[in-house]
Amino acid sequence: MQTINKYILLAGVVAISIFASCEKDDPEIPHEEEVITTLTYTLTPVSGGDVVTMTFQDLDGDGGNDPVITGGTLAANTAYVGELNLLNETETPAHDIGAEVKEEDEEHQFFYQVAGGLNLSVTYADVDADGNPVGLSTTLSSGDASQGQLTIILRHQPDKGAAGVSTGDVTNAGGETDIEVTFDVEII
């Protein structure tokens, strides 16, 4: 029985040492360097005029407040140069995600989808090391006055060789979607 008492004692010591620190310490907040909070699509008219900036900004990630989306108004029958900018604004200074994508451009491709009767065409203006389009830089040409939506999709690890992918058709691209944002666009 004496040995049994020893065990009880041992169990007690273990229990006490556990109880000694009841409250859980504050967790270390993870460094969310990967998050994309902000997408900016800057359209500069080739032959001068107003620069159009479309933004999607969601500073608190998947939950919390709704994202702030700003569409754009383009001039009719005008050629634009488009530049995409991706930021993680939870960091100070903001982390340039666009640079990350550029670094791994063989593994990424943007797709531009026009819907709702918008008279707009978007073509790729950049290529990766294999000569396939990326889509960080684009050229756009607007048609007659109209309105609709422009959706920008970023796929990670798409099959760039699949049918239609190099001309900007997402159907056979596969991969995972990292970005899918839709802007209301008007052409006047």
């Binding site: 169990a11 504050d26 500073l59 690890q157």
Partner: protein
């Protein structure tokens, strides 16, 4: 009257034909057969006229044990002890012998003796102090139906040691498997899974991240002597959160044998070109009895009939050490340590970024990222899990009828999950959790006045869960500490043909969670929650006639919400949804009634019918919300943990027919329904109805080769029709049929070692099918044909 053949009876030479599921039922036939095998020995010109006599007694109480079986492994001679515990073996040659002792409600035991003259020996067996259900599991192996329906024997575990614990458990009636691809599976018992089914490994409730449907229990099935499912009051003695069923993984005490014994087991599987190697050695040394076992698995990409399932390989390395020491006849102790390590690949094509991707995946015949070649490579997405378990237990017999025991269990679970990420972040886990768990238990069992058996205990449980910030992602579940103090008592009374059982349990649960807010800048919030859990259970077992037993169980249980149900927040990749916990959840209250009937007709026909009905008030489930949440990756559906009233009912049927000794037929049928009563919907993830049939022909064979058997089996799984189309992204898959076959034989080698060889074929028709309970049914077909080869060498 019943006798007991242990799962290890294969060690004996006369083992009656076993089809894997069937254990012999009539001891007398076996004994006669055993004696029959002796005839060749009589002819030898050796002095074989020695006699061994003695008594078989209970180690603690010295009470003689009637109907204990005593076998000499070397000769296959066997006998039964009489009402005074007396046994007698005659015509024994001089030599060294291993005695194999079994008795109902005792752990089987092997003892070694040198016999050179007429000998009188007393043999002791350790009595189980067990309850109704546990007795069913351990003792009634002769009652075919009950045993088969509740446990998996050692032989079946070793021949399938390449599989996961949960997949092996599927042989138990009422158990289905919830899968996430080929490598990850969780048991579903009577429609309950995850937080609602406790898994007890070696007497310690399995800790770890059991809440996740894609988190498989971190247990190597090879360490187990048997696996079983306890569905009644016996479940109250184990950890607090089950709603009625407990899965037990149990080892066997080390045999009292001074020789080194062990086994080597190897399984090759054609699908996935998998290799599984298990080794086990044990010995009763002077200082203590010890056993070491180890497992190594290397499995590559599985193959569906039409394509490879890219990145579905698996690696696993496990080791376990068991030490036992009897300090005296009254006092024994055990130390057990196990380490489980696995690296599991997850189908590459199942990794989706948003709903559009999921819809794309649903519309494809062949998953994205499918490679043309087989590979053992495992890349993201994948899981890396390690699990340590340390158990110390000691048992003291206070007097003839009272036992006091203490147990400590410590666990460390480390889980890392890797996703496909940008900028070489795929090597940084997206989820990284460390969980420590400490468990202390004091238990007291006693036979009290008028043969009332009482089992009572106090338990304390502490869990500490920490997210590693290395992930760079806000954690899905918060850091927390949980404290649980529990007490239980179960009483049992055995009368002539009636067994009554009554039990109760109380748990005080405290949860101290620390969450990180989603809003920027992130801040920290603390929550302290307290829950009281009560459970009651009662059971009656009545032997209506020698051939017919009926068993009724009634239970009322509370289950406090778990940390994921309360606090989880984040994107669930697999289902492309945002999952949100609910801090207002109350405990689930469940009433379950279970009625089972066993009928035995002339040792030829065994029938079992089991029905159950369970009502769960405030059943916690994930309710899809009407709103979609817009993120930079598109709009996601939101799922919130809510409560409803639910009912689950079903039935398991089994019939076994043995027209002649060399032939047996088995049919099993299971049906289950789950309903959300408040919303008038069916419950998701309920197993489809299914029917399993098997026919086995066996040939006992001779001295060297015996137990030759051929079996064919088929399984038909019905389409799950009890679900509304809007409850899922896609309709449940079609019904399917799988054909299987086995061939096996045992060979007697020199030095009493034994070689068992078998070949097993699964999905022999190479059918393309998907299963409703596999979450990866959205993405890919199940594996096609698989032929596995198993060699088991026991010495």
């Amino acid at each position: 009257m019943s006798f007991f053949i242990s799962g290890d009876s294969l060690k004996t030479t006369y083992e009656t034909i076993s089809a894997g599921l069937f254990k012999p039922d009539n001891m007398k036939i076996q004994v006669l057969f055993g004696l029959f095998l002796l005839f060749p020995f009589f002819s030898q010109a050796q002095e074989c006229n020695l006699t061994i006599t003695g008594h078989v007694r209970d180690m603690g109480t010295n009470i003689p044990l009637e109907f204990a079986t005593v076998f000499l492994e070397e000769t296959g001679q066997g006998t039964l002890s009489d009402s005074t515990g007396l046994f007698k073996l005659e015509n024994i040659c001089e030599g060294e012998y291993h005695f194999y002792l079994t008795h109902i409600a005792c752990d089987p035991k092997q003892i070694y003796f040198k016999i050179s003259k007429d000998t009188v020996i007393d043999l002791y067996l350790n009595h189980h102090f067990e309850l109704l259900d546990e007795v069913v599991v351990h003792a009634s192996r002769d009652e075919n139906s009950t045993q088969e329906s509740n446990s998996v024997s050692r032989e079946n575990i070793t021949s399938e040691s390449n599989k996961n614990l949960s997949d092996i458990l599927e042989q138990v009636a009422g158990v289905s498997v919830l899968k996430s691809g080929t490598g990850i599976s969780k048991p579903v018992v009577h429609g309950m899974y995850g937080n609602r089914v406790a898994i007890v490994n070696n007497g310690i409730q399995q800790a770890g991240q059991q809440w996740g449907n894609d988190h498989a229990p971190e247990i190597d099935p090879f360490v187990a002597d048997h696996l079983s499912v306890v569905k009644g009051a016996g479940a109250l003695a184990y950890g607090g959160n089950s709603l009625g069923s407990v899965v037990l993984v149990e080892t066997k005490p080390i045999d009292e044998d001074p020789h080194l014994h062990g086994e080597a087991n190897y399984v090759f599987q054609s699908n996935g070109l998998g290799n599984t190697l298990n080794l086990k050695v044990e010995e009763k040394a002077d200082w203590a009895s010890w056993r070491i076992s180890g497992t190594y698995k290397l499995i590559g990409d599985h193959k569906a009939p039409e394509y490879f399932l890219t990145n579905t390989g698996k690696r696993e390395a496990n080791i376990a050490l068991q030490l036992e020491k009897n300090f005296s006849n009254k006092w024994s102790s055990e130390l057990y340590y196990s380490l489980f390590n696995t690296d599991i690949g997850i189908l590459r094509g199942s990794h989706v970024g948003n709903l559009t991707d999921l819809e794309d995946a649903l519309s494809r015949d062949v998953p994205f990222f499918t490679q043309d070649d087989f590979s053992y490579n495992i890349e993201a997405p994948r899981q890396e899990v390690s699990h340590h378990l340390l158990k110390l237990s000691t048992k003291y017999l206070i007097d003839d009828s009272k036992v006091l025991s203490f147990k400590y269990g410590g666990q460390l679970n480390q889980r890392k999950e890797f996703d496909v990420r940008r900028s070489e972040r795929s090597d940084i886990p997206a989820l990284s959790l460390d969980q420590h768990m400490h468990f202390i238990e004091g238990q007291f069992s006693a036979s009290l006045w008028q043969d009332v058996f009482l089992k009572t205990g106090l338990q304390f449980n502490f869990t500490d869960n920490t997210n590693n910030p290395e992930t760079g992602i806000l954690p899905l579940i918060p850091d927390y500490r949980a404290f649980q103090t529990s007490a239980f008592a179960i009483a049992q009374k055995e009368m002539d043909r009636l067994l009554l059982e009554l039990g109760g349990r109380y748990d005080l649960k405290q949860l101290n969670a620390v969450t990180i807010t989603q809003s920027q800048p992130h801040s920290i919030e603390r929550y302290n929650l307290v829950f009281h859990n009560y459970s009651f259970s009662g059971g009656v077992k009545f032997k209506v006639a020698p051939q017919f037993t009926t068993n009724l169980n009634l239970g009322y249980m509370l289950r406090a919400p778990e940390v994921n149900e309360l606090f989880s927040f984040g994107l669930h990749q697999g289902v492309s949804g945002i999952e949100e916990g609910n801090r207002m959840l109350q405990a689930e209250r469940s009433t379950k009634i279970l009625w089972s009937n066993d009928l035995k007709v002339k040792d030829k026909l065994f029938l079992q019918a089991l029905g159950y009905y369970q009502q769960v008030n405030d059943y916690i489930y994930l309710q899809p919300q009407s709103e979609y949440r817009l993120t930079i990756r598109g709009a996601f559906p939101v799922f919130l943990y809510e409560q409803t009233d639910a009912e689950i009912f079903g039935a398991d049927f089994m019939a076994k027919y043995i027209p002649v000794e060399s032939l047996d037929f088995l049919v099993r049928y299971a049906i289950i329904r789950g309903k959300d009563l408040t919303n008038d919907l069916y419950l998701i993830n309920m197993p489809s109805d299914n029917i399993f049939g098997q026919a086995v022909y066996s040939w006992k064979g001779g001295d060297l080769l015996w137990n030759l058997r051929f079996g064919v089996n088929g399984k038909y799984v019905f389409e799950q029709k009890n679900i509304q189309p809007e409850q899922d992204f896609v309709l449940p898959p079609d019904a399917y049929f799988l054909l299987g076959a086995t061939v096996g034989a045992h060979f007697k080698l020199k030095n009493d070692s034994l070689l068992k060889l078998s070949i097993k074929g699964e999905n022999l028709l190479n059918s393309s099918y998907r299963d409703y309970l596999n979450r990866f049914r959205y993405f890919a077909d199940e594996p096609g044909i698989n032929v596995s080869f198993n060699a088991n060498y026991t010495f």
